[in-house]
Symmetry: C2
Subunit: 495 residues, 2 copies
């Protein structure tokens, strides 16, 4: 019970890069998570929830932005009875924890293990506009099988999921690539064993969407002056060396067969490259057989994915419609989900090869896309507000709201200072309430209540003539016993 | 894409005091959170989700167990471009963040502001059996009104919520007390201004459930030898000084009127004590009027609540049925929810009085209670498993699961190595699958599939005679076109 010591008042602010979500923002996300989980569940995936906190060693270091403090995670050292203990951190994704869970519980889990997981993840990134350091992911992964059928299933499920949450066919594309093909290209270039060079090339390829073919060519070789005038160092390849990378990047043809033929040329006689192409062929054949054709899922060699743990197929779901960015410029909405195969992540723990593949949906971006397209609205109907005309009769008003709630109608009694009735209506307005209920002393004595249709009232106030106003009253006087029936009637008329 | 450096393998373990939740554990919690949110929403409460991370100064120091490192929270210092920044921490409850949110956004929020929130909170406690450092809370609070109608509403809603999630009337009790009454007792004792003594007395009272009246009397005075033989120092009051505290603690009478009369005697002429009793009377009257009588909600002076920020009414929901603890001893299940009024928590930020009150439900404990009573089961039906008899025909098997899913039936194709068919059935067993589907080359050629009722099969294997076994076959051969219809028929027969 210690009183807080006298000290300057704390600032009422979220930490930098974090934000609060209110009302519909929360419930719409909950609904979306539920819809996604239903699809995942129907595909046979089981729920898993690991804790937000993991040991740093279990998480590993796989984030792309490695220059940040603690390599991009929020971390701290355990203090136990004043001894220093393990370093702990907030998870940065749901994949690294899955690898830990599978390694820890593998004897009790089925193999293959299909699991889904959803929840916030944290990145210790530099905050920026629209970039938050906590965001939701909703993942599905299959651990313990090297079969390309698992990858194909994940891609098909991703496509189904997007359509389920409200992105129609034609507004999205699942793009599939394979890290092995790219490694094949690098092998063909003689860079197969040079991890640093490979990383640099991967990072450069990832910029293809932004800087285009010519830009990537510059970045692979001598460097590039970017739009802001800053000079970006190049990877230092010769023009000849850069060519196979460009060939790979631009190998997308009119159809999958054409793309695969181009890729075959790009990897030359690299074994790993040929393996990657064979995998892409298998995935493509399974998806074709399932009716997932190129209007939904296609092979696209420009997909890279930033995370360091992918070993085979990688996938990305992109929304293909255009939106206006904060500066009013048209641009494609872009990626809302990504994933791939990571055959070595469990091996970190167990030493044994445990192949795995999976997808992560960026739920907050997907919600933003649906709002952008007007498919969900930010505003919802508030509760019916029972106003307080006589503060000694709170029990009467509580009885009214209880009756309404028992009939399944969202309702509340006004709990502020009831002195000023105008404030009560202002409150109902701020709550976006559809209806206000009024019972003063006279009404009580006569056994009636006043019911105000606030939505109709607002419409009339906005536009109606006096005639219309007389014809369509927005306030009704009904016997107290008809409260619930009349409220329901008005609510139905508002839908 | 740097390879992880050669180093000892990371250990696949959760950090101490954290755990993983699988399958039904997750979905049952999700269902419960949804059911609770539905009640809160129907009462007019709006959703709020703040981030897991807050500044340490915004959270404040209100946890009871103040001797822990960082006063019981997980905290770390921001590192920004190598400068040290704010101290951040994981939230330890959902109330402190609400106070911050209200102070930050008060101009945009309705007043009073009814909000609900749900999610994990973290406590840097010493881990112990069954004590976890991450657990779920599900809160509802009303900010901006001093009306006791808000407190009564919270108690009524808590009662409704418990019944909604499956705790029948008679198996729980919401107990209400008021910090002001206790402060009145302390004032009557001449300890009103002595914060340290008050804290000690509060902590002692909190042990009433465990040590009883005689134990509390010893702890308030000269100290006590506990069951383990350890001596616990006393608060150091004289026997005369301890008496009003005992009178307060034991003031519960057969009915509310009797309890209130006893409390009136205990607080003497303390003004704050009288205020507290008047508040309890108001809450009691409103609840009585709403039909929430003593079989659901009662005044109980032994309720204290550990958190330091409460200023008026405090409430606690207790499950009253008995369970067996880990040592096989019978005990009451105990508290699953608690809350109270905290009129000063927003004032920390704004300097202005903002009264508030609310409740927090310990969702994990509530789930444990329902499991204990057998009201929810840990095991659920798995997906229909389509087995793989011919690995070159994955597309055929995928078509089958797609048909089943399109009919709303949870289904998956076996993705492990299909060579050993026994492994496929073992897998289906581990998944708790109700049905396995088999289509070998012969079946394919004849246009049929085999459908195995695994649940019936297991029953027959367990107990049936040969006769019964012949009479009730658990495997059916149907035309391929009847796959979905037959699977549905079997699923329906299993319910």
């Amino acid at each position: 019970m210690a009183k807080p010591k006298k000290q300057p008042r704390p600032k009422a602010v979220t930490p930098k890069g974090f934000r609060d979500y209110f009302g519909q923002e929360v419930t719409q996300r909950t609904e979306m998570l539920r819809a996604i989980a239903d699809v995942y569940h129907c595909y046979g995936f089981d729920a898993l929830e690991s804790s937000a906190v993991e040991t740093v060693e279990a998480l590993g270091k796989f984030l792309p932005d490695v220059d940040r403090p603690n390599e991009g995670v929020f971390a701290w050292q355990e203090v136990d009875d004043n001894d220093k203990g393990d370093w702990l951190a907030l998870r940065y994704d749901l994949t690294a924890p899955l690898a830990r869970v599978y390694a820890q519980h593998r004897n009790d889990l089925p193999t293959p293990y299909r699991r889904y997981a959803m929840g916030p993840v944290w990145r210790n990134e530099k905050p920026g506009p629209g970039r938050f350091r906590q965001f939701y992911q909703c993942d599905a992964d299959t651990v313990g099988t090297a079969s390309m059928a698992a990858d194909a299933e994940i891609c098909a499920m991703l496509s189904d999921t997007l359509e389920t949450v409200g992105i129609p066919r034609g507004d999205y594309l699942v793009r599939v690539n394979n890290r092995k093909v790219l490694n094949g290209v690098l092998e063909a270039m003689g860079l197969g064993e040079d991890a640093a060079a490979r990383d640099n090339v991967l990072r450069t390829i990832d910029k293809f969407d932004k800087v285009g073919e010519a830009g990537v060519r510059e970045l692979l070789t001598k460097g590039r002056l970017d739009a802001s005038g800053a000079f970006i160092d190049g990877v230092g390849l010769s023009d000849d060396q850069a060519e196979p990378v460009i060939a790979f990047l631009t190998s997308k043809a009119a159809d999958a067969a054409g793309t695969l033929a181009n890729l075959r040329a790009a990897v030359g006689d690299s074994k790993i490259g040929a393996d990657g192409i064979a995998e892409l062929e298998q995935i493509g054949a399974l998806l074709d057989a399932g009716g997932y054709s190129a209007d939904r899922i296609e092979i696209d060699p420009s997909v890279v994915r930033g995370l360091g743990y992918y070993t085979g197929p990688v996938y990305e779901a992109e929304l293909t419609f255009e939106i206006f960015d904060e500066k009013g410029r048209k641009r494609q909405f872009g990626s809302v989900a990504g994933g791939g195969r990571y055959d070595d992540l469990v091996k970190r723990f167990t030493g044994q090869e445990v192949p795995a593949t999976g997808i992560s949906i960026g739920v907050d971006r997907l919600l933003a896309a649906l709002r952008e397209k007007g498919r969900i609205t930010a505003q919802s109907k508030g509760p019916v507000v029972v106003t307080v005309m006589d503060r000694d009769r709170m029990a009467d008003y509580q009885t009214m709201v209880a009756e309404l709630r028992n009939a399944g109608i969202r309702a509340e009694v006004y709990l502020g200072n009831p002195k000023n009735f105008g404030n009560q209506l202002k409150y109902a307005d701020k709550r976006n309430s559809p209806i206000a209920v009024i019972e003063g002393g006279d009404e009580k004595a006569n056994g009636i209540v006043q019911i105000k249709d606030l939505i109709l009232g607002a419409k009339i106030a906005e536009s109606a003539t006096l005639e219309e106003w007389k014809e369509r009253p927005s306030q009704f006087e009904v016997p107290r016993g008809n409260l619930v029936a009349k409220v329901r009637e008005i609510l139905d008329s508002q839908d």
